[in-house]
Assembly symmetry: C3
Homo-oligomer: 676 residues x 3
């Protein structure tokens, strides 16, 4: 990719830098402190449009000139942003047709960011003009290390329902389908007699009576992704005309449901991600690991950049819990362990005003005599010691299937149960794997799965015929596949695959499902080995949300339901096919609880499949110890309040300089990195 | 009525048939399977408009021709639908003034059904044209047994707030009131000085500050019913010009609050109803029985048609629980027991696409090797055995008053308590009666009540002067009346009847209510016989929601409140008036719990009134056994997991062919029908 | 003030009188009953506009003439209302530009009151015309005692987002800031690059993406207050041209968040307030006391008027609990005790129709043979006995800071915790003070605080630099200040004060806060004296919502957190500064629970501060006895079900005529007033 690595000397460290909020004397202190902390990269200018183009076509670069020169003189490299996520006030005033319209038909107001229509030609002209001006002026500036286009595509304007967007959507559909008959077939418009006579008749899926065509909904989501990608490409092409630095934008994996990052990733020179803890949740670092693994996978396994995270609390959650001492360090190093070549924060210095003033920063409101600042300085030192890890890779033997289209489709209206949620199951399986100390990749269901010993399908409700064949080939060739309920149900148009459920997976699983039996809210079911009388059941892990009538057709039952609507029928099955095996679970098991010896808790089931697939992993470690290998660096991150000892490790402690021969004890809350 | 009975040979069996979703080779299998299952009636063409009139004024009947001919050749009769509930896409594209506008002023989008304004002249022209074309073409088709106009009037477009609807509403008001002064008086516009100077000034009751005129709201609801009835009449008249088959439409009793079916029923040749279980609720079959009894009552006691229900789960509830084995049979036969001459399903074959693809069907996604299909075939056989029941009547000694206007009025804003809900109390009394094995009719409060030994008023908040007099006459003449709190409060304009509460019922009840004392959320009150000291109270049934200060004026107290804001004052009273008796209960008793010997639980109270009124009913049966007599058929439906034995029955088992002399044992979950 | 006192002969007693809802024969009964009850003041004509100006420019005063004459003949004085809160229907029909538009851009419908734009020039013309007609006709009517302008400003139309309002807002901003640069600076528009080029570009803060400029929001709230005040002034000036009777309007303290009554109070000749119990809440009379104290404080300590409250239930709460016997009396006398010179009700006679027909009244639906009417008559007698209290003052040694701007600002989006609520903390501290039998004033933070021994800041999130200095001077000069967490954080533009938190209070508190640590939902923390080992902690009062890292800089810790994110760090501190002391508490303590001896429950903490500040108060009384002194009247209001005895009181029982020498026993639920 052009210009990668961004910083050849090692890992990038820094954050968003918004000096326009401060008088110039503060800038000088900023630069001094950056050097103290070891900051070597800052993102500049994300929200500068209104400042550098105060009136249409009139520019004032003086402040930005001074900032870049100052940073350059201090040896801090710049990730220069295009400011197009927050158009100036004059833009919405002069171009009302470029305003964002929501699904209720409301024209959204100004006074915030992202309040524009991504398909607006007016916006295209204005944004291309400002990016051209920036690229022409700074494309060759020696401080620049990379370009940061826009900010968080899809944050608030993922979908626009204005007339301009509607017209663009119709053109997009015409391009996709060629003729209206193909569209009618794909969307199944004979249902309810909703056949379109021409593309001209199509409206975006705004507020309507229930039962809106799901083909229309899914294509509008796909169109919207393309609309934003087109905005990105427009800016990227301008920048490329003025230099060959890497160009990226900051993704929001996994928290921006409307953006299909499998489609985004090929557009950027390096994948960059914003990640924020779901702070009130138990063990939020498991969600962090998922995000990092998914980001790495979206990046095709290449190193990526953590381009925003936080030193402490954010400001936009219901209760913004602060990070505890050591937590920022563990979080940062977990990202590095999982493939990030950078640790960047939003933001450098906490704002005194604006919507994000209660967001933590590297320089907090309390200033430098603070725990956070001290940890920031220490982290800088850690990262310098980790410079050799730059560019190295993380290898995984297990892949979890993640498909944004399935995410979208599963959560449309009128599914068998409101408790069916895409991320709920992915996160459950991910947590079980994390606690088993297994590093995973994520994969699109159509990807080459041959590198993996085990592939997990937690929520693949939408699965194309082609993807289904891909999975079948994978198992035939010796792969191991673990599938959760309500997968393989519909194709890319939300049309049910022919025949009994799950049409796309019947053959590989060696079973069919006669009927779905969603459970009541809070209802649970339990399990027993087939042939066991009901009364011998002892307290066991429970399933929630789902039960169904499984009929074996090649598979065999490992466990039956012991109660509920499918008592006495299979709950967990195994199917040996070709050189491989396919496992199936017909209810929602809990990721915590008993281990492999006590299947069928989800962790036990996962362990069973891991063992059968021959996935290597450390044993006998506490399930609060995160173990990840990146290249020749072994990261041991202890999330518990007690020390943890790991055996069989030999090498040099990168952070502590210690020599390890045989075992290592990781302090409570600490991180040990051993180069082997 | 024209052409009734629809199928002289017996009960109708079948469902909605949407072959347009399938290739023609599937049609042939459909017909074969229909014969296997004994299907003799299918509803065709409900959503065909866009298919048979693909462009305005251009028709393509070829597919429908083939379908009707195929069905005819197989001996399956057709209930032919007009497709006007789902106008073609070209309609909304060409006639934007015909689009639906909701109470927030949002123009609703396309891509679903029912998205049109019922008062639109454009819609009137277009719908009349397509119905004319259909009636002209198929009015004499030999397959036809009846006409099914539209689909579920009021499902999503019960109320339209567009300018066209506003003008129609003003014209409707002018017709109703003659002059603006009469309207001002009826609506009480001197309150808040909201007097209208002319009809021209009136707007529909869209989003506004709180406290909107309730007269305006109620009349808009009445107008909306009339707007839909006018749509129905328009189509019916067209059809009548082309034949004399019965014409109906499918009601949604009791789940379509905006439609006043007392006003609808005289319009149709046979009352037809859609019914779906509230599947997550305990004992949903009691709700089914209520719906069937209300449907029969709306039909004036004549046989009616169950025109849609489900073989299993629906798709639009939060959790769509499937029916358990035997449940579809119990449900179907309960409808027949309560007066239905048909058992029709939505739908014949499960769709692979569209909004309802997860809705169960007679031919499920799993195909015919399935429990559902086997039960469908068995049910067909049951229904053939029940052919002699066709046309017979159900007699009831008890009537429950149900008035949609009271339903609307009670649930407008600013009532004494948000816990006052119309259906909550009707369902509570209904359940108590059901568990007492009493079959009930429903009645409008102005109806002739003389056939009934007991009349129950659970939620008659709105009660006109005339209806009040009707009740008074009924009791005077020897009737028994059981009234629940907050009844008889306002007249048809939501104006409080003069004098102390309950103005319309003070005299018949022999009491007045000095003040309402709504209870806190979850607060309860208990009872004691008058004169009993508080400390002798033992644990007793509790009242919720409501307490009030009852002052006796002729009535006597059976129970006092033992605690709460009215401790020591009457809670349950009895008033002997003329030849009859009026009972009153001043709080929300629970329908379950202790029997007659332990009043005042609601079931006990109901039993007391039943006994006093001399209502006959079986005794000593489990309260999970449904007992209904229809003509000379006695239906025994066992909802429990254990067999139930009924004494005193003699006759022939219609389903099992057994001879019963003295007693019958109904298997767990089974149905026994005895012809006596 | 002009014309005050309204009724020189004593306390005013009566209510809203809407005879237009009744035939004229009822008026005569009304007047007879008013005399029976001792009513001497009624509010007339609040909703008369549509009745007296039935068409634009056409008047009909005949009914109002007769009413005023009838009242005058009966000796009942009149508070004559201008009817401008409910414009006639013709107004919205003829002047659609004067309709109210909400923040979603919806034009609100008619059929209710308050549905107009306060900035509308059309409304200004129409309302000025009707007020001119009324003032000219009745300004000299002998029945008149005062003028009641409008009704509940801000009830439903506090904020209007229509184009007319937007233009008025821009003009208001231009006047406030002079130039656009000053606005940009105040609002911090460099954040997200939202700099305005001209006032023309500004839109009201309607629905927009998250993160809307808070300066914009706060100024729109300020503008809206001014828009309503301008409406009031317009009418007041018209009235003043026709007489010198006192002019007021009815405030809704504390339930109308958008109205800043500190700014409203100088506009009226006498402060008048509507107060309704939050009936489902425990101890709603404490909320009443808060409202009365806040109203008196807004009135600058002068006597005020309770111009609306209720004899029983209201109609607009989820569950409208009735008042229990004696409760109306306790409520009414509590208002008098806290400075009201009137006891007026909404309304005289319960309506039979309209939105408020289930609202209680002096003459209830049940008529005069009712508990309510009897209590109304008795209350009239009580009030005649209390005539000498008219005009006397209530003195307080403690002030609680209340600032509507802080209320607004704290509850904007993206605060550290969603559990931060303005009234929650004010009410907690108020309850603790009430239970300690301390009468308090409320004060704006910029007010002269020197009269108070103790000043409490429960929720002063927004605190200007000037107010901070005011507090500092107060403590320096010997004042005692008790501050709760998250106070003194931002200035009037929602910009964080420079330096560590709490910027505006660091110095006076002698501490800084390094980091906020919001707690999880339902999480609690406990306390221990500094230096105590954790394991010696015993069960103690708990803190909720908040924890934070306090760093002492002059203050000393009284208690540390015993657990949670700040275990071992200060939770409650004390700082001696100059001649005074500042206390600080860093979490949400509960107002109930243990007393002073067992700090740090909130009541204990408050008691500690009271004692230290030397605030006098009765001791050893049950905390259900309300004790308030007004002038030489001592009010003892017993909210418990048992009698309460108070020592050290000598004087004459005003209500009971008894002589008290040394002690008084107040009956359960009773009120004793002793003149000393």
């Amino acid at each position: 990719m052009p210009g990668y690595p961004v910083l050849p000397e090692g890992l990038a460290y820094g954050g968003d830098y918004n000096p326009e909020q401060w008088p110039e004397e503060v800038w000088r202190e900023d630069v001094r402190l950056m050097r103290e902390a070891g900051v070597n990269l800052v993102t500049v200018g994300v929200f500068n449009w209104g400042l550098i183009e105060p009136a249409e076509g009139e520019y004032d670069f003086s402040r930005l000139d001074r900032i870049l020169d100052l940073l350059h003189s201090a040896g801090v490299r710049v990730d220069l942003a295009t400011p197009t996520s927050s158009p100036p006030v004059w833009f919405r005033h002069r171009y009302p047709a470029g305003r964002l319209v929501d699904h209720e038909g409301r024209v959204l107001g100004g006074g915030s960011r992202h309040s524009f229509c991504p398909s607006s030609p007016d916006y295209a002209v204005a944004s291309e003009r400002i990016v051209t001006a920036l690229a022409a002026r700074y494309g060759g500036h020696p401080a620049l290390a990379m370009w940061h286009v826009h900010n968080e595509y899809g944050w608030a304007n993922a979908h626009c329902y204005c007339p301009v967007s509607a017209a663009a959507f119709r053109a997009w559909l015409e391009h996709r389908y060629g003729g209206i008959d193909a569209l009618n077939t794909a969307w199944g418009t004979t249902f309810w007699g909703l056949t379109y006579g021409s593309f001209e008749e199509i409206e975006p899926p705004a507020t309507a009576p229930p039962g809106l065509l799901n083909g229309l909904r899914l294509d509008f989501m796909r169109f919207s992704v393309d609309a934003h990608i087109a905005c990105f490409r427009r800016e990227r092409e301008v920048i490329r005309r003025h230099g060959d630095l890497p160009v990226t934008t900051n993704f929001m994996i996994p928290n921006c449901k409307p953006m299909d990052y499998w489609r985004w990733a090929p557009e950027v020179d390096v994948v960059a991600n914003d990640h924020y803890l779901d702070s009130e949740r138990a063990d939020p670092h498991i969600g962090l690991a998922l995000a990092a693994d998914l980001t790495r996978s979206v990046a095709g396994g290449r190193p990526w950049m953590l381009i925003e995270h936080s030193t402490g609390a954010v400001n936009w959650q219901p209760r913004n819990l602060a990070k505890r001492p050591g937590e920022m360090r563990r979080n940062s190093l977990a990202h590095v362990a999982r493939g990030s070549d950078s640790v960047l924060f939003f933001q450098w210095r906490a704002s005194r005003y604006g919507a994000e003033k209660f967001h933590s920063a590297m320089v907090p409101q309390a200033g430098t005599d603070s725990r956070i600042w001290r940890e920031v300085v220490e982290l800088g030192a850690d990262l310098r010691r980790l410079a050799p890890a730059r560019g190295s890779r993380v290898e995984a033997e297990v892949a979890v299937v993640w498909d944004w289209e399935s995410y979208w489709a599963l959560e449309l209206e009128w599914r068998p149960s409101a408790d069916l949620r895409f991320r709920e199951r992915v996160e459950a399986f991910y947590e079980a794997l994390w606690r088993e100390h297994v590093t995973v990749d994520f994969a699109h269901p159509s990807a080459d799965l041959s590198p993996y010993k085990l592939v997990v399908l937690p929520s693949a409700y939408l699965l194309s015929e082609a993807s289904a064949k891909n999975l079948h080939r994978y198992v035939q060739a010796g792969g191991h596949l673990l599938v959760s309920y309500f997968s393989g149900i519909v194709d890319e148009n939300d049309t049910i695959h022919a025949g009994p459920y799950p049409g796309a997976l019947r053959e590989v699983l060696g079973l069919s499902v006669e009927e779905f039996h969603p459970l009541r809210e809070h209802e649970t079911v339990t399990f027993r080995p087939p042939g066991t009388p009901p009364d011998q059941a002892r307290p066991r892990p429970t399933g929630r949300v789902w039960s169904e009538r499984v009929r074996l057709a090649g598979a065999r039952a490992l466990y039956d339901f012991a109660d509920g609507p499918d008592a006495g029928h299979p709950a967990i099955t195994r199917h040996d096919l070709g050189a491989g095996t396919a496992w199936y679970v017909a209810t929602a098991l809990d990721p915590r609880g008993e281990g492999a010896a006590h299947a069928p808790g989800l962790r036990g089931l996962v362990a069973l499949a891991l063992d059968h697939a021959g996935v290597s992993r450390p044993r006998d470690l506490p399930d609060t110890l995160e173990v990840v290998r990146r290249g020749d660096h072994l990261f041991l991150i202890n999330h518990a309040d007690e020390p943890a000892t790991v055996g069989g490790v030999t090498g040099t402690g990168v952070l502590d300089g210690a020599a390890y021969a045989g075992s290592a004890t990781v302090p409570a809350g600490g991180v040990t990195v051993i180069r082997t």
